[in-house]
């Protein structure tokens, strides 16, 4: 197997641009997905089952259908409905955020519910209201437990952002496919893309490990 370095050199600037867009998509989607996920997770924990129902339905839908289908639905259905025309980047961010929010919601819920109920009772018995008990007693403990699964979810999201290539968002995978299409070569574009994804996910997991260690010693 000979490697054609020349076409790699030719595509290097495109891979660089694509990588930046992948990072951008991921960061924005992680942020929106986390905020949305927190809200949905809290919504699902509401005692009243009628109020909790829409949140449960949301999670069921987004965890139970393929992300690819969601991306296509958002790209060709939702975005034109709101913006009047298709917009790949908006669609990718929307679909990734909505999808990620469902998983993040479950992580938040599980994290909060993993804290012994005696903690809430002790806080309430001291006269704290629900919000104070959550803020000062439950969440600080729950967040530590949420970090490993949240890290997993963020890594999944980085990898899943490659599906945006399907709707012609010019991220990393898009350029990989473009290169394959132009030169009919498989190894060069896809090994390059794989290595770049690996660097991104590995850096993130190193970062999260450090954060986890710091919180553990606190």
């Amino acid at each position: 197997m000979d490697i054609r370095w020349d076409i790699l050199a030719e595509y290097a600037p495109f891979f660089a641009k694509g990588t930046l867009l992948t990072i951008g998509l991921s960061i924005v989607s992680i942020l929106i997905g986390s905020v949305l996920g927190l809200a949905i997770g809290l919504g699902k924990m509401v005692q009243n089952k009628w109020l909790a129902f829409p949140f449960k339905a949301y999670i069921t839908f987004f965890r139970g259908t393929p992300l690819l289908v969601q991306i296509l639905l958002v790209h060709f259905g939702l975005i034109p409905l709101f913006m009047g025309e298709t917009n790949g980047i908006a669609a990718a961010i929307t679909a990734l955020s909505l999808n990620s929010a469902a998983y993040v919601a479950e992580i938040f819920r599980a994290g909060i519910q993993s804290i012994d109920k005696g903690q809430m009772e002790a806080a309430r018995s001291l006269g704290m209201n629900h919000v104070q008990a959550m803020r000062f007693v439950i969440l600080p403990q729950a967040i530590k437990r949420m970090i490993p699964p949240l890290g997993n979810e963020f890594i999944v999201l980085i990898k899943d952002s490659s599906l945006a290539a399907i709707i012609a968002v010019k991220e990393l995978m898009y350029w990989g496919q473009a290169m394959q299409g132009q030169y009919y070569r498989a190894w060069e574009p896809y090994i390059t893309a794989a290595l770049i994804y690996l660097v991104l996910t590995f850096s993130l997991s190193l970062l999260l490990n450090r954060l986890e260690r710091r919180l553990a010693t606190e």
Partner: protein, 240 residues
Amino acid sequence: MIEVKNLKKTFGQNEVLKGINVSVKPQEVVVVIGPSGSGKSTFLRCLNLLETITDGHVWIEGTDITDKKTDINAIRTEVGMVFQQFNLFPHKTVIENIMLAPLKVRKVPTEKAREKGLELLRKVGLAEKADAYPDSLSGGQKQRVAIARALAMEPKIMLFDEPTSALDPEMVGEVLEVMKQLAKEGMTMVVVTHEMGFAREVGDRVIFMDGGFVVEEGVPRDIFENPQEERTKAFLSKVL
């Protein structure tokens, strides 16, 4: 101080409290005994609404806590509670555990809260543990911190829910000692316990519960030496 009238509590189909009438006077130490499943812990937890009350009324210092308009958080600042499982906050040091509620609920200045916290720690004999985390303490030490934490809110009433049941035998004494001291200082206390020695020595009144009812109540000497009810006799013959 505490007035309980026809208190009922059901969990689903299961009626745990079937109409409890109890009153506790200021500075009185009332000890609640009875077999497990008799409803004594549930009864105690109804007194600060950790359990919702199905029927009946509870007045704390004249305020009906079953009234929807009652600010239960305000009532709870006056009613301290100590749990079987301690329930210390593991992410906070001992002194932070004690200071948290005074700082956030009573809005006491930090310096004052700290001073008060250290004073309480000295009282329960743990001043040197102020900056330790709960994980590094023994069970008895944890429970003494939990008592100090409840006292930091300067409650008028203290509820104890089997405070020594999760402790190794050699640590029971140190916790009971702190409770005894508290009783001597005139704290109004309701104590659910299996420590019959404590009930006899410190209690002003003993309540024997079984099957969701108060079966018998009276001064400890009468209950322990001359019980009137068959069920009381049967229970005491097993535990004494």
